[in-house]
Protein backbone atom coordinates (compact mmCIF):
# COMPACT_ATOMS: atom_id res chain seq x y z
CA UNK A 1 0.00 0.00 0.00
CA UNK A 2 2.77 2.40 0.95
CA UNK A 3 4.70 1.40 -2.13
CA UNK A 4 1.64 2.16 -4.25
CA UNK A 5 1.13 5.51 -2.60
CA UNK A 6 4.80 6.35 -3.10
CA UNK A 7 4.63 5.34 -6.77
CA UNK A 8 1.47 7.38 -7.26
CA UNK A 9 3.03 10.44 -5.63
CA UNK A 10 6.14 9.97 -7.77
CA UNK A 11 4.05 9.71 -10.95
CA UNK A 12 1.98 12.73 -9.95
CA UNK A 13 5.14 14.73 -9.31
CA UNK A 14 6.55 13.66 -12.66
CA UNK A 15 3.44 14.76 -14.55
CA UNK A 16 3.44 18.06 -12.68
CA UNK A 17 7.08 18.71 -13.56
CA UNK A 18 6.37 17.98 -17.22
CA UNK A 19 3.40 20.35 -17.15
CA UNK A 20 5.54 23.12 -15.70
CA UNK A 21 8.23 22.51 -18.33
CA UNK A 22 5.59 22.57 -21.09
CA UNK A 23 4.02 25.73 -19.71
CA UNK A 24 7.31 27.64 -19.35
CA UNK A 25 8.50 26.58 -22.77
CA UNK A 26 5.18 27.48 -24.34
CA UNK A 27 5.06 30.91 -22.77
CA UNK A 28 8.63 31.78 -23.70
CA UNK A 29 8.34 30.59 -27.29
CA UNK A 30 4.96 32.09 -27.99
CA UNK A 31 5.25 35.38 -26.21
CA UNK A 32 8.56 36.37 -27.74
CA UNK A 33 7.95 38.63 -30.71
CA UNK A 34 8.23 36.10 -33.50
CA UNK A 35 5.25 35.19 -35.66
CA UNK A 36 5.20 31.69 -37.15
CA UNK A 37 2.13 32.55 -39.21
CA UNK A 38 3.99 35.44 -40.83
CA UNK A 39 6.77 33.10 -41.89
CA UNK A 40 4.36 30.51 -43.23
CA UNK A 41 2.13 32.92 -45.07
CA UNK A 42 4.40 33.32 -48.05
CA UNK A 43 4.97 36.23 -50.39
CA UNK A 44 3.20 38.47 -51.00
CA UNK A 45 1.68 38.29 -47.54
CA UNK A 46 -1.64 40.09 -47.60
CA UNK A 47 -3.44 40.73 -44.28
CA UNK A 48 -6.15 38.27 -45.38
CA UNK A 49 -3.62 35.52 -46.02
CA UNK A 50 -1.96 36.22 -42.69
CA UNK A 51 -5.27 36.00 -40.82
CA UNK A 52 -6.03 32.80 -42.69
CA UNK A 53 -2.66 31.29 -41.76
CA UNK A 54 -3.13 32.31 -38.14
CA UNK A 55 -6.55 30.71 -38.00
CA UNK A 56 -5.24 27.57 -39.70
CA UNK A 57 -2.41 27.18 -37.20
CA UNK A 58 -4.59 28.10 -34.27
CA UNK A 59 -2.71 31.31 -33.46
CA UNK A 60 -5.87 33.43 -33.53
CA UNK A 61 -6.83 32.24 -30.06
CA UNK A 62 -5.55 33.82 -26.81
CA UNK A 63 -2.28 32.24 -25.64
CA UNK A 64 -3.75 30.31 -22.70
CA UNK A 65 -6.40 28.86 -24.99
CA UNK A 66 -3.61 27.82 -27.38
CA UNK A 67 -1.78 26.14 -24.53
CA UNK A 68 -4.87 24.19 -23.50
CA UNK A 69 -5.49 23.18 -27.12
CA UNK A 70 -1.89 22.03 -27.34
CA UNK A 71 -2.26 19.94 -24.17
CA UNK A 72 -5.57 18.54 -25.43
CA UNK A 73 -3.88 17.55 -28.68
CA UNK A 74 -1.53 15.26 -26.77
CA UNK A 75 -4.49 13.16 -25.66
CA UNK A 76 -7.02 13.52 -28.47
CA UNK A 77 -5.03 14.63 -31.52
CA UNK A 78 -5.65 17.82 -33.47
CA UNK A 79 -6.94 18.88 -36.83
CA UNK A 80 -5.60 22.07 -38.39
CA UNK A 81 -7.97 23.82 -40.79
CA UNK A 82 -11.11 22.39 -42.32
CA UNK A 83 -12.20 20.76 -45.54
CA UNK A 84 -9.89 19.08 -48.05
CA UNK A 85 -6.79 21.07 -47.02
CA UNK A 86 -7.10 20.08 -43.36
CA UNK A 87 -4.08 18.49 -41.70
CA UNK A 88 -4.73 15.89 -39.09
CA UNK A 89 -2.24 15.20 -36.34
CA UNK A 90 -3.10 11.99 -34.53
CA UNK A 91 -2.85 11.56 -30.77
CA UNK A 92 -0.47 11.91 -29.07
CA UNK A 93 0.01 15.13 -31.01
CA UNK A 94 3.01 17.16 -29.84
CA UNK A 95 2.50 19.75 -32.52
CA UNK A 96 2.79 19.99 -36.27
CA UNK A 97 5.66 21.60 -38.13
CA UNK A 98 4.17 23.68 -40.91
CA UNK A 99 7.62 24.33 -42.33
CA UNK A 100 8.49 20.68 -42.77
CA UNK A 101 4.88 19.58 -43.28
CA UNK A 102 5.26 16.85 -40.72
CA UNK A 103 4.02 15.68 -37.37
CA UNK A 104 6.63 16.75 -34.78
CA UNK A 105 6.50 13.40 -33.02
CA UNK A 106 7.22 11.64 -36.32
CA UNK A 107 10.15 13.97 -36.94
CA UNK A 108 11.54 13.14 -33.50
CA UNK A 109 10.86 9.42 -33.98
CA UNK A 110 12.70 9.45 -37.29
CA UNK A 111 15.84 10.92 -35.74
CA UNK A 112 15.71 9.11 -32.42
CA UNK A 113 17.47 5.85 -33.46
CA UNK A 114 20.67 7.74 -34.34
CA UNK A 115 20.77 9.62 -31.05
CA UNK A 116 19.93 6.50 -29.04
CA UNK A 117 22.62 4.48 -30.87
CA UNK A 118 25.15 7.17 -30.07
CA UNK A 119 24.16 7.74 -26.46
CA UNK A 120 23.49 4.20 -25.29
CA UNK A 121 26.63 2.75 -26.91
CA UNK A 122 28.78 5.48 -25.40
CA UNK A 123 27.08 5.23 -22.01
CA UNK A 124 27.76 1.49 -21.76
CA UNK A 125 31.40 2.16 -22.60
CA UNK A 126 31.88 5.04 -20.21
CA UNK A 127 30.15 3.42 -17.25
CA UNK A 128 31.97 0.09 -17.64
CA UNK A 129 35.37 1.60 -18.41
CA UNK A 130 34.99 4.46 -15.94
CA UNK A 131 34.05 2.21 -13.03
CA UNK A 132 36.63 -0.46 -13.91
CA UNK A 133 39.47 2.05 -14.21
CA UNK A 134 38.36 3.89 -11.07
CA UNK A 135 38.15 0.73 -8.97
CA UNK A 136 41.46 -0.63 -10.23
CA UNK A 137 43.19 2.71 -9.65
CA UNK A 138 41.83 2.95 -6.11
CA UNK A 139 42.95 -0.60 -5.28
CA UNK A 140 46.44 0.19 -6.56
CA UNK A 141 46.71 3.68 -5.15
CA UNK A 142 50.00 5.34 -6.01
CA UNK A 143 50.90 2.93 -8.82
CA UNK A 144 51.70 4.19 -12.30
CA UNK A 145 48.27 3.03 -13.43
CA UNK A 146 46.63 5.11 -10.70
CA UNK A 147 48.66 8.17 -11.59
CA UNK A 148 47.87 7.78 -15.30
CA UNK A 149 44.17 7.33 -14.51
CA UNK A 150 44.12 10.47 -12.37
CA UNK A 151 45.96 12.49 -15.02
CA UNK A 152 43.70 11.15 -17.77
CA UNK A 153 40.56 11.92 -15.81
CA UNK A 154 41.77 15.46 -15.11
CA UNK A 155 42.20 16.00 -18.86
CA UNK A 156 38.88 14.34 -19.71
CA UNK A 157 36.92 16.36 -17.17
CA UNK A 158 38.29 19.68 -18.42
CA UNK A 159 38.32 19.10 -22.18
CA UNK A 160 35.03 19.89 -23.89
CA UNK A 161 33.61 16.92 -25.79
CA UNK A 162 33.72 18.71 -29.13
CA UNK A 163 37.39 19.45 -28.72
CA UNK A 164 38.20 15.82 -27.92
CA UNK A 165 35.98 14.79 -30.82
CA UNK A 166 37.70 17.08 -33.30
CA UNK A 167 41.13 15.99 -32.14
CA UNK A 168 39.98 12.38 -32.48
CA UNK A 169 38.78 13.01 -36.01
CA UNK A 170 42.03 14.80 -36.82
CA UNK A 171 44.41 12.21 -35.40
CA UNK A 172 42.59 8.88 -35.68
CA UNK A 173 40.43 9.69 -38.67
CA UNK A 174 42.60 11.80 -40.95
CA UNK A 175 46.23 11.37 -39.88
CA UNK A 176 46.27 7.67 -38.94
CA UNK A 177 43.17 6.75 -40.93
CA UNK A 178 42.17 3.87 -38.62
CA UNK A 179 38.50 4.73 -38.07
CA UNK A 180 35.85 6.02 -40.44
CA UNK A 181 34.66 9.60 -40.02
CA UNK A 182 31.13 10.79 -40.48
CA UNK A 183 29.11 8.05 -42.06
CA UNK A 184 26.09 6.64 -40.32
CA UNK A 185 24.53 3.32 -41.36
CA UNK A 186 21.19 2.15 -40.02
CA UNK A 187 21.44 -0.69 -37.52
CA UNK A 188 18.84 -2.69 -39.44
CA UNK A 189 20.77 -2.19 -42.67
CA UNK A 190 24.17 -3.50 -41.59
CA UNK A 191 24.97 -3.92 -37.87
CA UNK A 192 28.73 -4.20 -38.42
CA UNK A 193 28.99 -0.99 -40.43
CA UNK A 194 26.63 0.67 -37.94
CA UNK A 195 28.96 -0.13 -35.04
CA UNK A 196 32.16 0.60 -36.99
CA UNK A 197 30.85 4.01 -38.04
CA UNK A 198 30.04 4.86 -34.43
CA UNK A 199 33.32 3.65 -32.90
CA UNK A 200 34.99 7.05 -32.86
CA UNK A 201 31.98 8.98 -31.47
CA UNK A 202 31.46 6.30 -28.83
CA UNK A 203 35.02 6.39 -27.58
CA UNK A 204 35.22 10.17 -27.68
CA UNK A 205 32.02 10.52 -25.66
CA UNK A 206 33.15 7.74 -23.34
CA UNK A 207 36.45 9.51 -22.71
CA UNK A 208 34.83 12.88 -22.04
CA UNK A 209 32.14 11.47 -19.77
CA UNK A 210 34.02 8.49 -18.34
CA UNK A 211 36.70 10.77 -16.91
CA UNK A 212 34.35 11.97 -14.23
CA UNK A 213 33.30 8.39 -13.45
CA UNK A 214 36.93 7.46 -12.92
CA UNK A 215 37.32 10.37 -10.52
CA UNK A 216 34.07 9.60 -8.71
CA UNK A 217 34.60 5.83 -8.49
CA UNK A 218 38.18 6.20 -7.33
CA UNK A 219 37.36 8.66 -4.54
CA UNK A 220 34.33 6.67 -3.47
CA UNK A 221 36.26 3.41 -3.52
CA UNK A 222 39.13 4.85 -1.46
CA UNK A 223 36.65 6.11 1.10
CA UNK A 224 34.70 2.86 1.24
CA UNK A 225 37.77 0.65 1.54
CA UNK A 226 38.77 2.50 4.71
CA UNK A 227 35.37 1.93 6.36
CA UNK A 228 34.88 -0.34 9.34
CA UNK A 229 32.63 -2.85 7.63
CA UNK A 230 35.37 -3.63 5.12
CA UNK A 231 37.79 -4.31 7.96
CA UNK A 232 35.15 -6.47 9.63
CA UNK A 233 34.59 -8.44 6.43
CA UNK A 234 38.31 -8.99 6.02
CA UNK A 235 38.66 -10.00 9.68
CA UNK A 236 35.87 -12.54 9.21
CA UNK A 237 37.98 -14.10 6.48
CA UNK A 238 35.82 -13.05 3.53
CA UNK A 239 37.92 -13.49 0.36
CA UNK A 240 39.32 -10.17 -0.96
CA UNK A 241 37.49 -10.67 -4.26
CA UNK A 242 34.14 -10.73 -2.41
CA UNK A 243 35.12 -7.82 -0.20
CA UNK A 244 35.79 -5.67 -3.25
CA UNK A 245 33.17 -7.08 -5.61
CA UNK A 246 30.27 -7.30 -3.21
CA UNK A 247 30.83 -5.19 -0.12
CA UNK A 248 32.67 -2.21 -1.55
CA UNK A 249 31.31 -2.04 -5.09
CA UNK A 250 27.70 -1.75 -3.94
CA UNK A 251 28.53 1.49 -2.14
CA UNK A 252 30.43 2.78 -5.12
CA UNK A 253 27.63 2.06 -7.57
CA UNK A 254 25.00 4.27 -5.91
CA UNK A 255 26.48 7.62 -7.00
CA UNK A 256 27.42 6.08 -10.34
CA UNK A 257 23.79 5.13 -10.99
CA UNK A 258 22.62 8.62 -10.03
CA UNK A 259 25.12 10.22 -12.36
CA UNK A 260 24.34 7.86 -15.23
CA UNK A 261 20.63 8.61 -14.89
CA UNK A 262 21.20 12.35 -14.91
CA UNK A 263 23.56 12.16 -17.88
CA UNK A 264 21.32 9.89 -19.94
CA UNK A 265 18.41 12.19 -19.12
CA UNK A 266 20.27 15.16 -20.50
CA UNK A 267 21.62 13.21 -23.45
CA UNK A 268 19.59 15.21 -25.94
CA UNK A 269 21.41 18.39 -25.01
CA UNK A 270 24.78 16.70 -25.28
CA UNK A 271 23.79 14.92 -28.46
CA UNK A 272 23.31 18.23 -30.23
CA UNK A 273 27.00 18.93 -29.79
CA UNK A 274 28.35 15.46 -30.52
CA UNK A 275 26.18 15.06 -33.58
CA UNK A 276 27.39 18.36 -34.97
CA UNK A 277 31.03 17.27 -34.55
CA UNK A 278 30.56 13.87 -36.17
CA UNK A 279 27.85 15.01 -38.62
CA UNK A 280 25.39 12.38 -37.45
CA UNK A 281 21.77 12.84 -38.59
CA UNK A 282 20.19 12.63 -35.12
CA UNK A 283 17.89 14.67 -32.89
CA UNK A 284 20.55 17.31 -32.37
CA UNK A 285 20.51 18.11 -36.07
CA UNK A 286 16.73 18.37 -36.00
CA UNK A 287 16.91 20.82 -33.12
CA UNK A 288 19.63 22.97 -34.65
CA UNK A 289 17.86 23.08 -38.03
CA UNK A 290 14.66 24.08 -36.24
CA UNK A 291 16.55 26.87 -34.48
CA UNK A 292 17.90 28.24 -37.72
CA UNK A 293 14.58 28.05 -39.55
CA UNK A 294 12.66 29.24 -36.45
CA UNK A 295 10.42 26.22 -36.61
CA UNK A 296 8.60 26.82 -33.32
CA UNK A 297 6.45 23.66 -33.16
CA UNK A 298 9.54 21.49 -33.66
CA UNK A 299 11.48 23.46 -31.05
CA UNK A 300 8.66 23.09 -28.57
CA UNK A 301 8.34 19.39 -29.31
CA UNK A 302 12.08 18.80 -28.90
CA UNK A 303 12.23 20.72 -25.62
CA UNK A 304 9.26 18.82 -24.22
CA UNK A 305 10.75 15.54 -25.35
CA UNK A 306 14.04 16.45 -23.69
CA UNK A 307 12.17 17.29 -20.48
CA UNK A 308 10.38 13.97 -20.71
CA UNK A 309 13.71 12.13 -20.98
CA UNK A 310 15.14 13.92 -17.92
CA UNK A 311 12.09 13.23 -15.80
CA UNK A 312 11.89 9.57 -16.81
CA UNK A 313 15.62 9.10 -16.16
CA UNK A 314 15.25 10.60 -12.68
CA UNK A 315 12.34 8.28 -11.89
CA UNK A 316 14.34 5.25 -13.05
CA UNK A 317 17.26 6.32 -10.86
CA UNK A 318 14.99 6.62 -7.83
CA UNK A 319 13.55 3.17 -8.42
CA UNK A 320 16.94 1.55 -9.01
CA UNK A 321 18.12 2.79 -5.60
CA UNK A 322 15.84 0.20 -4.08
CA UNK A 323 17.60 -2.55 -5.98
CA UNK A 324 21.08 -1.45 -4.99
CA UNK A 325 20.53 -0.26 -1.46
CA UNK A 326 18.08 -2.15 0.77
CA UNK A 327 17.88 0.87 3.07
CA UNK A 328 16.32 2.89 0.28
CA UNK A 329 13.58 0.35 -0.55
CA UNK A 330 10.27 2.03 -1.09
CA UNK A 331 8.32 -0.07 1.42
Amino acid sequence: MRTLRFAAARLGGTVLVLLVVAFCTYIVFYLVPSDPALMACGKPCTPENLALAREFMGFDEPWWQQFLTFLGGIFTGRTFGTGPTAIHCTAPCFGYSFQQNADVLELIGGRLPVTVSLAVGAAVLWVVLGVAVGVYAALHKGSWFDRAAVAGSVIGVSAPVYLVGLLGILVLGFQLDVVPVGNYTELSEDPVRWAWGLVLPWFVLAFAHGAFYVKLTRTQMLETMSEDFIRTARAKGVPERTVVGKHALRNVLLPVVTLTGIELGSLLGGAVITERVFSLPGLGGLLIDAVHSRDLPTLLGCTLFAGFLVVVANAVVDLSYGLLDPRARLT
Binding site: G13, V17, V20, V21, C24, T25, V28, F29, V32, P33, S34, V150, V154, I155, V157, S158, A159, P160, Y162, L163, L166, L167, I169, L170, F174, T219, L222, E223, S226, G265, S266, L268, G269, G270, V272, I273, R276, V277, L287, I288, A290, V291, H292, R294, L296, L299, L300, C302, T303, A306, G307, L309, V310, V311, N314
Partner: protein, 304 residues
Amino acid sequence: MSSPVARSVPAAVRSVLARDRWALAGTVAVVVIGLVAIFADVLTAIEGHDPYTYDSTALDPANGLPAGSFGGVSGEHWFGVEPLTGRDLFAIVVHGARTSFLIGLAATLVSIGLGVLIGAAAGYLGGWVDRVITWSADVFLGFPYLVFMIALGAVVPADFPRALLLIIVIGFFGWPTTARIVRSQVLTLKERNFVKAARTLGASPWQVFRTELLPNLWGPVLVMATLSVPGKIGLEAALSFLGVGVLPPTPSWGRSISAAIDWVAVDPAFLLFPGLALFAVTWGFNALGDGLRDALDPKSGVRR
Protein backbone atom coordinates in the same frame (compact mmCIF):
# COMPACT_ATOMS: atom_id res chain seq x y z
CA MET B 1 28.06 19.07 15.76
CA SER B 2 30.68 19.75 13.14
CA SER B 3 31.49 23.16 11.86
CA PRO B 4 30.78 23.56 8.12
CA VAL B 5 34.01 25.51 7.68
CA ALA B 6 37.23 23.98 8.89
CA ARG B 7 39.21 27.21 9.01
CA SER B 8 39.20 30.76 7.71
CA VAL B 9 38.96 31.18 3.97
CA PRO B 10 42.14 33.22 3.33
CA ALA B 11 44.18 30.78 5.44
CA ALA B 12 42.77 27.84 3.51
CA VAL B 13 43.55 29.48 0.17
CA ARG B 14 47.11 30.20 1.28
CA SER B 15 47.69 26.66 2.48
CA VAL B 16 46.23 25.20 -0.73
CA LEU B 17 48.55 27.30 -2.87
CA ALA B 18 51.53 26.44 -0.69
CA ARG B 19 50.99 22.68 -0.57
CA ASP B 20 48.96 21.61 -3.62
CA ARG B 21 51.09 22.14 -6.71
CA TRP B 22 48.22 21.25 -9.09
CA ALA B 23 46.02 23.89 -7.49
CA LEU B 24 48.91 26.34 -7.79
CA ALA B 25 49.39 25.50 -11.47
CA GLY B 26 45.64 25.90 -12.01
CA THR B 27 45.71 29.28 -10.31
CA VAL B 28 48.60 30.38 -12.50
CA ALA B 29 46.66 29.34 -15.63
CA VAL B 30 43.54 31.19 -14.48
CA VAL B 31 45.46 34.33 -13.49
CA VAL B 32 47.47 34.42 -16.74
CA ILE B 33 44.41 34.03 -18.96
CA GLY B 34 42.51 36.45 -16.74
CA LEU B 35 45.24 39.05 -17.26
CA VAL B 36 45.15 38.32 -21.00
CA ALA B 37 41.40 39.01 -20.95
CA ILE B 38 41.86 42.28 -19.05
CA PHE B 39 44.74 43.51 -21.20
CA ALA B 40 43.40 42.13 -24.49
CA ASP B 41 43.58 45.53 -26.17
CA VAL B 42 47.15 46.15 -25.04
CA LEU B 43 48.29 42.72 -26.23
CA THR B 44 46.68 43.05 -29.64
CA ALA B 45 48.12 46.56 -29.97
CA ILE B 46 51.60 45.14 -29.34
CA GLU B 47 51.03 42.47 -31.97
CA GLY B 48 49.46 45.03 -34.27
CA HIS B 49 46.17 43.38 -35.32
CA ASP B 50 42.55 43.46 -34.24
CA PRO B 51 40.13 40.49 -34.34
CA TYR B 52 37.78 42.06 -36.91
CA THR B 53 39.82 43.18 -39.92
CA TYR B 54 39.81 40.87 -42.94
CA ASP B 55 43.19 40.46 -44.58
CA SER B 56 43.31 38.51 -47.83
CA THR B 57 47.06 39.09 -48.16
CA ALA B 58 47.66 36.63 -45.30
CA LEU B 59 45.87 33.90 -47.27
CA ASP B 60 46.87 31.56 -50.03
CA PRO B 61 44.80 32.88 -52.98
CA ALA B 62 44.42 29.37 -54.41
CA ASN B 63 42.37 27.80 -51.61
CA GLY B 64 41.70 30.38 -48.89
CA LEU B 65 44.04 28.64 -46.45
CA PRO B 66 46.47 30.71 -44.37
CA ALA B 67 49.68 31.43 -46.25
CA GLY B 68 52.71 29.81 -44.64
CA SER B 69 53.12 26.71 -42.51
CA PHE B 70 51.06 25.70 -39.45
CA GLY B 71 48.14 28.04 -40.04
CA GLY B 72 50.34 30.96 -41.00
CA VAL B 73 52.16 31.32 -37.69
CA SER B 74 54.81 34.04 -38.03
CA GLY B 75 56.27 37.06 -36.28
CA GLU B 76 53.50 39.05 -37.91
CA HIS B 77 50.65 36.72 -36.89
CA TRP B 78 51.62 34.95 -33.66
CA PHE B 79 48.90 32.30 -33.83
CA GLY B 80 48.45 32.47 -37.61
CA VAL B 81 45.24 33.61 -39.27
CA GLU B 82 41.69 32.37 -39.76
CA PRO B 83 41.15 30.52 -43.05
CA LEU B 84 39.03 32.33 -45.66
CA THR B 85 39.00 35.68 -43.81
CA GLY B 86 42.63 36.23 -42.85
CA ARG B 87 41.64 37.65 -39.47
CA ASP B 88 44.43 37.42 -36.90
CA LEU B 89 43.96 34.33 -34.71
CA PHE B 90 45.98 35.71 -31.78
CA ALA B 91 43.66 38.71 -31.58
CA ILE B 92 40.63 36.43 -31.83
CA VAL B 93 41.85 34.11 -29.05
CA VAL B 94 42.89 37.00 -26.80
CA HIS B 95 39.59 38.83 -27.20
CA GLY B 96 37.78 35.49 -26.92
CA ALA B 97 39.27 35.21 -23.42
CA ARG B 98 37.48 38.43 -22.59
CA THR B 99 34.14 37.03 -23.83
CA SER B 100 34.65 33.78 -21.92
CA PHE B 101 35.65 35.42 -18.64
CA LEU B 102 32.96 38.07 -18.80
CA ILE B 103 30.14 35.61 -19.40
CA GLY B 104 31.58 32.86 -17.20
CA LEU B 105 32.19 35.06 -14.18
CA ALA B 106 29.02 37.14 -14.49
CA ALA B 107 26.85 34.04 -14.92
CA THR B 108 28.52 32.44 -11.90
CA LEU B 109 27.82 35.59 -9.89
CA VAL B 110 24.15 35.42 -10.89
CA SER B 111 23.74 31.72 -10.13
CA ILE B 112 25.71 31.73 -6.86
CA GLY B 113 23.99 34.92 -5.69
CA LEU B 114 20.53 33.53 -6.42
CA GLY B 115 21.48 30.12 -5.02
CA VAL B 116 22.81 31.50 -1.73
CA LEU B 117 19.79 33.77 -1.17
CA ILE B 118 17.23 31.11 -2.12
CA GLY B 119 19.02 28.28 -0.33
CA ALA B 120 19.49 30.30 2.85
CA ALA B 121 15.83 31.32 2.79
CA ALA B 122 14.77 27.69 2.44
CA GLY B 123 17.05 26.49 5.22
CA TYR B 124 16.47 29.32 7.69
CA LEU B 125 12.77 30.02 7.21
CA GLY B 126 11.72 26.38 6.76
CA GLY B 127 8.01 25.52 6.52
CA TRP B 128 6.16 26.19 3.28
CA VAL B 129 8.97 28.44 1.97
CA ASP B 130 11.32 25.47 2.23
CA ARG B 131 8.83 23.13 0.55
CA VAL B 132 8.14 25.49 -2.36
CA ILE B 133 11.86 26.14 -2.92
CA THR B 134 12.85 22.48 -2.69
CA TRP B 135 10.13 21.56 -5.14
CA SER B 136 11.07 24.36 -7.57
CA ALA B 137 14.69 23.25 -7.41
CA ASP B 138 13.58 19.73 -8.38
CA VAL B 139 11.61 21.12 -11.32
CA PHE B 140 14.60 23.19 -12.40
CA LEU B 141 16.95 20.25 -12.19
CA GLY B 142 14.53 18.34 -14.43
CA PHE B 143 14.46 21.17 -16.94
CA PRO B 144 16.18 20.38 -20.24
CA TYR B 145 18.16 23.59 -19.93
CA LEU B 146 20.65 23.07 -22.76
CA VAL B 147 17.91 22.26 -25.26
CA PHE B 148 15.89 25.15 -23.88
CA MET B 149 18.83 27.57 -24.22
CA ILE B 150 19.45 26.41 -27.79
CA ALA B 151 15.81 26.92 -28.66
CA LEU B 152 15.77 30.28 -26.90
CA GLY B 153 18.57 31.44 -29.18
CA ALA B 154 16.12 31.18 -32.06
CA VAL B 155 13.26 33.19 -30.61
CA VAL B 156 14.94 36.05 -28.76
CA PRO B 157 15.07 39.18 -30.96
CA ALA B 158 18.41 39.83 -32.61
CA ASP B 159 18.73 43.30 -31.09
CA PHE B 160 18.75 41.95 -27.52
CA PRO B 161 22.40 42.03 -26.29
CA ARG B 162 23.62 38.45 -26.61
CA ALA B 163 26.20 38.53 -23.83
CA LEU B 164 23.53 39.75 -21.40
CA LEU B 165 21.09 37.07 -22.54
CA LEU B 166 23.70 34.36 -22.03
CA ILE B 167 24.63 35.68 -18.57
CA ILE B 168 20.99 35.76 -17.48
CA VAL B 169 20.05 32.37 -18.91
CA ILE B 170 23.20 30.47 -17.92
CA GLY B 171 23.20 32.11 -14.50
CA PHE B 172 19.52 31.58 -13.88
CA PHE B 173 19.57 27.84 -14.54
CA GLY B 174 22.48 27.37 -12.14
CA TRP B 175 20.83 28.30 -8.85
CA PRO B 176 19.32 24.96 -7.74
CA THR B 177 22.64 23.15 -7.19
CA THR B 178 24.00 26.02 -5.07
CA ALA B 179 20.71 26.42 -3.22
CA ARG B 180 20.69 22.74 -2.21
CA ILE B 181 24.16 22.89 -0.69
CA VAL B 182 23.56 26.24 1.02
CA ARG B 183 20.24 24.99 2.39
CA SER B 184 21.85 22.00 4.06
CA GLN B 185 24.64 24.18 5.48
CA VAL B 186 22.11 26.64 6.88
CA LEU B 187 20.04 23.83 8.42
CA THR B 188 23.11 22.92 10.51
CA LEU B 189 24.11 26.52 11.21
CA LYS B 190 20.70 27.61 12.46
CA GLU B 191 20.88 25.14 15.36
CA ARG B 192 24.16 26.64 16.55
CA ASN B 193 24.06 28.80 19.64
CA PHE B 194 25.31 32.03 18.08
CA VAL B 195 22.45 31.95 15.56
CA LYS B 196 19.93 31.07 18.26
CA ALA B 197 21.26 33.93 20.38
CA ALA B 198 20.90 36.41 17.55
CA ARG B 199 17.35 35.24 16.96
CA THR B 200 16.48 35.48 20.64
CA LEU B 201 17.80 39.04 20.70
CA GLY B 202 15.25 39.87 18.02
CA ALA B 203 17.38 39.92 14.88
CA SER B 204 15.35 39.82 11.67
CA PRO B 205 15.97 36.95 9.22
CA TRP B 206 17.86 39.34 6.94
CA GLN B 207 20.11 40.48 9.80
CA VAL B 208 20.77 36.89 10.84
CA PHE B 209 21.60 36.06 7.23
CA ARG B 210 24.03 38.93 6.84
CA THR B 211 25.82 38.89 10.17
CA GLU B 212 25.60 35.26 11.32
CA LEU B 213 25.02 32.95 8.34
CA LEU B 214 26.88 34.58 5.45
CA PRO B 215 30.30 34.78 7.16
CA ASN B 216 30.08 31.02 7.75
CA LEU B 217 29.06 30.30 4.17
CA TRP B 218 32.03 31.91 2.41
CA GLY B 219 34.05 28.69 2.36
CA PRO B 220 31.53 26.45 0.59
CA VAL B 221 30.42 29.37 -1.59
CA LEU B 222 33.97 29.99 -2.77
CA VAL B 223 34.43 26.30 -3.61
CA MET B 224 31.10 26.15 -5.46
CA ALA B 225 31.84 29.34 -7.37
CA THR B 226 35.32 28.21 -8.44
CA LEU B 227 34.03 24.84 -9.56
CA SER B 228 31.05 26.31 -11.39
CA VAL B 229 32.98 28.88 -13.47
CA PRO B 230 34.44 26.28 -15.90
CA GLY B 231 30.97 24.82 -16.44
CA LYS B 232 29.59 28.25 -17.27
CA ILE B 233 32.51 29.08 -19.58
CA GLY B 234 32.03 25.69 -21.23
CA LEU B 235 28.31 26.34 -21.67
CA GLU B 236 28.95 29.67 -23.36
CA ALA B 237 31.49 28.01 -25.63
CA ALA B 238 29.09 25.14 -26.37
CA LEU B 239 26.24 27.50 -27.25
CA SER B 240 28.55 29.59 -29.43
CA PHE B 241 29.84 26.36 -30.95
CA LEU B 242 26.26 25.56 -31.95
CA GLY B 243 25.72 29.04 -33.36
CA VAL B 244 23.25 30.20 -30.72
CA GLY B 245 25.68 31.89 -28.34
CA VAL B 246 27.73 35.02 -28.86
CA LEU B 247 27.00 36.46 -32.30
CA PRO B 248 29.70 37.29 -34.85
CA PRO B 249 31.88 39.25 -35.12
CA THR B 250 32.41 39.20 -31.32
CA PRO B 251 35.24 36.67 -30.83
CA SER B 252 34.34 33.48 -28.98
CA TRP B 253 36.44 30.34 -28.53
CA GLY B 254 33.41 28.13 -29.03
CA ARG B 255 32.55 29.70 -32.38
CA SER B 256 36.15 29.51 -33.58
CA ILE B 257 36.28 25.80 -32.67
CA SER B 258 33.00 25.32 -34.52
CA ALA B 259 34.41 27.08 -37.59
CA ALA B 260 37.51 24.88 -37.34
CA ILE B 261 35.44 21.73 -37.97
CA ASP B 262 35.45 22.36 -41.70
CA TRP B 263 39.21 22.97 -41.75
CA VAL B 264 40.46 20.39 -39.29
CA ALA B 265 42.01 18.18 -41.97
CA VAL B 266 43.98 20.96 -43.67
CA ASP B 267 44.53 23.60 -40.98
CA PRO B 268 44.70 22.00 -37.50
CA ALA B 269 46.31 25.13 -36.01
CA PHE B 270 42.96 26.89 -36.35
CA LEU B 271 41.50 24.30 -33.94
CA LEU B 272 44.44 24.05 -31.57
CA PHE B 273 44.84 27.65 -30.39
CA PRO B 274 41.24 28.40 -29.31
CA GLY B 275 40.88 24.78 -28.16
CA LEU B 276 43.95 24.91 -25.93
CA ALA B 277 42.86 28.25 -24.47
CA LEU B 278 39.44 26.82 -23.56
CA PHE B 279 41.01 23.70 -22.11
CA ALA B 280 43.55 25.68 -20.06
CA VAL B 281 40.89 27.87 -18.46
CA THR B 282 38.58 24.95 -17.69
CA TRP B 283 41.41 22.89 -16.26
CA GLY B 284 42.75 25.83 -14.24
CA PHE B 285 39.46 26.53 -12.49
CA ASN B 286 38.86 22.80 -11.88
CA ALA B 287 42.30 22.27 -10.35
CA LEU B 288 41.96 25.33 -8.11
CA GLY B 289 38.42 24.37 -7.10
CA ASP B 290 39.39 20.79 -6.26
CA GLY B 291 42.25 22.03 -4.12
CA LEU B 292 40.03 24.51 -2.29
CA ARG B 293 37.41 21.84 -1.66
CA ASP B 294 39.98 19.50 -0.17
CA ALA B 295 41.22 22.28 2.11
CA LEU B 296 37.85 23.65 3.17
CA ASP B 297 35.85 20.45 3.41
CA PRO B 298 37.45 18.08 5.94
CA LYS B 299 35.30 15.20 4.67
CA SER B 300 36.83 15.01 1.20
CA GLY B 301 40.39 14.45 2.36
CA VAL B 302 41.25 11.33 0.35
CA ARG B 303 42.17 12.37 -3.11
CA ARG B 304 45.76 11.73 -3.97
